[in-house]
Symmetry: C2
Subunit: 326 residues, 2 copies
Amino acid sequence: MKALVYDGIETLGYRDVPKAEAREGEHLIRIMASGICGSDMHAYLGHDDRRPAPLILGHEAAGIIEGGPDDGRRATINPLVTCGSCAACLAGRENLCGDRQIISMPPREGAFAQYVAMPNRNLVTVPDAVPLSKAALTEPLAVSWHAARLALEAIHPKMERTALVIGGGAIGLAAALALHAMGVENVTIAEPNDKRRAFLAERCNLSVTDNATQPATVVIDAVGYAATRAQASAIAAPGGVIAHVGLGEHADGLDVRRMTLQEITFIGTYTYTAQDFRDTAQAIFDNRFGPLDWIEERALSDGAQAFRELRQGSVAAPKIVLDPWS
Amino acid sequence: MKALVYDGIETLGYRDVPKAEAREGEHLIRIMASGICGSDMHAYLGHDDRRPAPLILGHEAAGIIEGGPDDGRRATINPLVTCGSCAACLAGRENLCGDRQIISMPPREGAFAQYVAMPNRNLVTVPDAVPLSKAALTEPLAVSWHAARLALEAIHPKMERTALVIGGGAIGLAAALALHAMGVENVTIAEPNDKRRAFLAERCNLSVTDNATQPATVVIDAVGYAATRAQASAIAAPGGVIAHVGLGEHADGLDVRRMTLQEITFIGTYTYTAQDFRDTAQAIFDNRFGPLDWIEERALSDGAQAFRELRQGSVAAPKIVLDPWS
C-alpha cells in the first residue's frame, strides 16, 4: 500500500510499504480521509519522543471496512486502543488506560496510508449522507468536546457560563463549536494571527479577539504553552475553570498564587473517552457543529508539501485532510 | 485593651491599644483563644504585602459576646467578612466575594487582642461542653475541610479514594483529619521533619511517610511551594485531583505535561464557605476530628516569644493558641 512515512526531522516519504493486516478481532479499513493534526506537526519537527522515525503518522481518519461480514461499512476511527478491562476503562475513562495505544505511535502505525487495522469497538458507523472527509474530523472535534465537557462539569452550577478559547487553530475552533453545541452562548476565541481571526469570524461566524480582557468562567487553553497558561490563569474569573489541551511546553506559566486566592481549577485533558468520541460523531451527523466546511482536501501523495506549508504558516484552512486514493 | 501588635519584620509589641468597637449589626467579642497561623508567621517575616505593619494579626479565634441581647453567648468566629449580596455570596461561595475582608488584614484588625468586633452572621455558637481553645480551631480546620471537600467533589465517582497530604503542619494535619471525617480511610501525610512525623504518628494516630512513592487519587498540597507542587503533580494518580492550599511560592513546580497526559485536576483553594465553616464547627462539636488535644496554650503576653520559637522550628505542637486574659 501507499503511505506517507516520517523518515526524520522535516522529512516525509511517500512510498510503498507492506499493507496493514487485521489481527484477531480487528477490521481492515480502507482509509478515505486522514487529517493532519498539530501533534503530527510536532512529531515532524522532531519534538515528540513518543513518535520516533521511521513511522507512519496520522490518527484522524475515516474509511470503509474491507473484507469480512462488515465489508463496505463506512466508519470513523477512534484511534485510541485501550485494554477494556482496567479500572479506568471500566469507569468509562478509556483515555486513562495504562495500556493505551494510539495509531501513529509505536507499536501502531498511523493513518497517512491506504489501510489501517483497527478493533471493531474503535469504529463508529457513518451515515451515507455524511462525507468521510467530514467524518474524519470526529477525532479532533472529540478532543475539544472532551475538554469542553470536563470544564462544564467542573464549573459551579450557579456560575454564569462565559467562555474564552485561547488559540484559533483546529482545536480552538473545535472547542468553540463544542461549547456552542453544549449550549454556551457567550464564547470568544483569542487568536493573535490576523488571517486566522478573519477566517474564524467570516467563515465560521465565531466571536474573536486579539486582546482578551473580559474575565471568563470557562477558559480552554487550546495551545498549551507557558504564555497561554499565563493568559488563562490571569483571565479566568474567580471560581472559574481552565481546561488545558496540548503539549506545547512541559511546565511554567500558571499564576498559582492567583489560582489559589481565586479558587481557579485547572484540568489537564487528554484525548476523549469512547463515549465522548461517539457523542462527537453523533453531533457531526446531526450538524450540531455547523457545516464544517473549513477543511481543505489534498492528495496523500502531496502530504510532504502540505506539511511544509503548514510549517511555513501559509495555510489558511484550520484543517488539511489527506486522501490516499486521489 | 491589650493586643499583640505586628510593628515590623520579626517585631511584635504587646501593649494597650484602643478597644475594638462594634459597628451597626456587629457584636463585640471578648476573645478567649486565638491561634497562630502560618499566614501570621508569613506576615511576621514581612512576606505578605496584604498585611503591612502596624497591624494586629490573628484570625483563628473564639470568645464570648459582650453586651447586647446575646451577652454571654460563646462563639467561634468566621473571620471572613463578605458582602452577602454578590453572585459569589448568593451562590454560597462567600470566599470568592469581591469585597471579602478578613480580620488581621486592613481595614480589619486581628484577634491577637482582648476584643474583636464581628457581624452576627460570622459567629457560630459553641456548646458549653466544648472548650473555646478547641473551638478556635474551627478556622484552620475549615480551611482543610474546604480543600478536602472540593477534592472529593472533583474526584471521579468510580475512582478509589486514596489520599496523600503533603506537609504535616496544622493545615496538613487538619486535612488528614477532615478526609478521615469524610470517610476516606486510606490517608497518608508526607512530612520530611522527623519530630513532626513522630508527633503525627504517636499523638494523632495518623499514617505518615518521609518518602511518598504510592500514587494517590487525592493529593492535598498543604504547603504551597514549587517543590511540593512538583511532588503533587508527580504522584497524583492518572485522573486524580490535587487540592492546593497555601501561598508559599507564587508560581512553578507543576508538571503540566504529565497533568495533561494523565488528566490531573488542580484546584486552587482559599479559606472556606460559610457552610464549610458551620459544618467544620459541628464536626468539632461532634468529635469527628478526634480529641484535638494537640494544641499548646500560652498567654498572649508571651506571643512574641511564641513567634520566635515557631520561627526557630522548636515548637512540637502543630498549633499554639494564645489567651489574652491569662
